[in-house]
């Protein structure tokens, strides 16, 4: 899988712990920039920078509410990450299902010996 530079790649975007905190916070509902600043205890410039990165890679979406900018999670952007993780999970699901079949066979054999 080709990987792009940090701020254009959702995988790298979520590698930054503060950005994950923001995503976790938005997971509980949409928030204004000010609310995110308060919740994280970071300066507004830092929060805005992280939000810009998350927005650029499509992990969050924004809307204007008067003078406030409200952010929410963007499910489409998250889906790419989800697909990546789920592929690895699916591989191990397959492997362990096969392992389970082998184990069941060994169990049958060992019970047959009794």
């Amino acid at each position: 899988m080709a990987r792009a530079a940090t701020t254009t790649d959702p995988f790298n975007a979520v590698a930054e712990p503060r950005r994950r905190q923001i995503l976790d916070l938005l997971a509980t509902g949409e928030r204004s920039v000010g609310e995110i600043v308060d919740a994280l205890g970071l300066g507004q410039p830092q929060v805005s920078k992280h939000l810009r990165v998350l927005h650029e890679v499509g992990l969050v979406a924004a809307r204007q509410d008067g003078r406030r900018r409200i952010y929410r999670l963007d499910g489409q952007g998250l889906k790419g990450i989800h697909d990546w993780v789920s592929n690895f999970e699916a591989l191990w699901q397959e492997r362990l299902d096969q392992l389970d079949a082998v184990v069941a066979e060994l169990k049958r054999d060992s019970e047959g010996d009794d």
Binding site: V85, E89, L91, A104
Partner: protein, 163 residues
């Protein structure tokens, strides 16, 4: 299929992947199926190819090497060394994807039996983000992003909600 459980994947920290699965069998059988090459040949490929080589010298300092030919035709090979071997209980080994030979993971597998059922836990620890990327590149796009388990759960929910 005699399926008795579902594999669960979590990401306990930025460089770890934890996979657990329960089996309806005593642990010495799960251990044997997990470790013995003649059985590894039957499960390690999943649905993605045929295992063409499974070699394993199961003792501290011993080496292992598994190779599969993926359904698409390319070869995927991993190898490593055993660091700890406690029969029926615990194995610690290194793991290297041969296409990225300078990246090494440490894998700890434990077998816990309760009331005749066995839980297999496999913790994969990578020394860095770069090593994690090595796993990602392993032919079949076998990969995982570093620590965001909350995000992962959320992404699954969102993906399902959006169909």
């Amino acid at each position: 299929m005699a399926s008795s459980g579902t594999a669960e994947l979590t990401l306990p920290s930025d460089t770890q992947i934890l996979i657990t699965r329960e089996f309806e069998a005593p642990r010495h059988l799960v251990y044997r199926a997990y470790t013995a090459p003649e059985f590894v040949e039957r499960w390690w490929g999943g649905q993605r190819g045929n295992v063409t080589l499974a070699e394993s010298d199961l003792r501290v300092g011993g080496r292992w090497r598994y190779v599969m030919t993926a359904n698409e035709g390319f070869e995927v090979a991993f190898h490593g060394e055993f660091r700890e071997v406690v029969t029926n209980e615990r194995i610690v080994n290194t793991e290297v994807y041969e296409a990225m030979p300078d990246k090494e993971a440490l894998v700890t597998v434990t077998f816990t039996e309760v009331d005749g059922r066995t839980t297999l836990s496999m913790l994969t620890e990578m020394d860095s983000k770069e090593s994690r990327d090595g796993l990602v590149a392993s032919g079949m796009e076998v990969g995982v992003q570093e620590g965001f388990d909350v995000l992962e759960r959320l992404a699954i929910e969102l993906a399902e909600a959006e169909g």
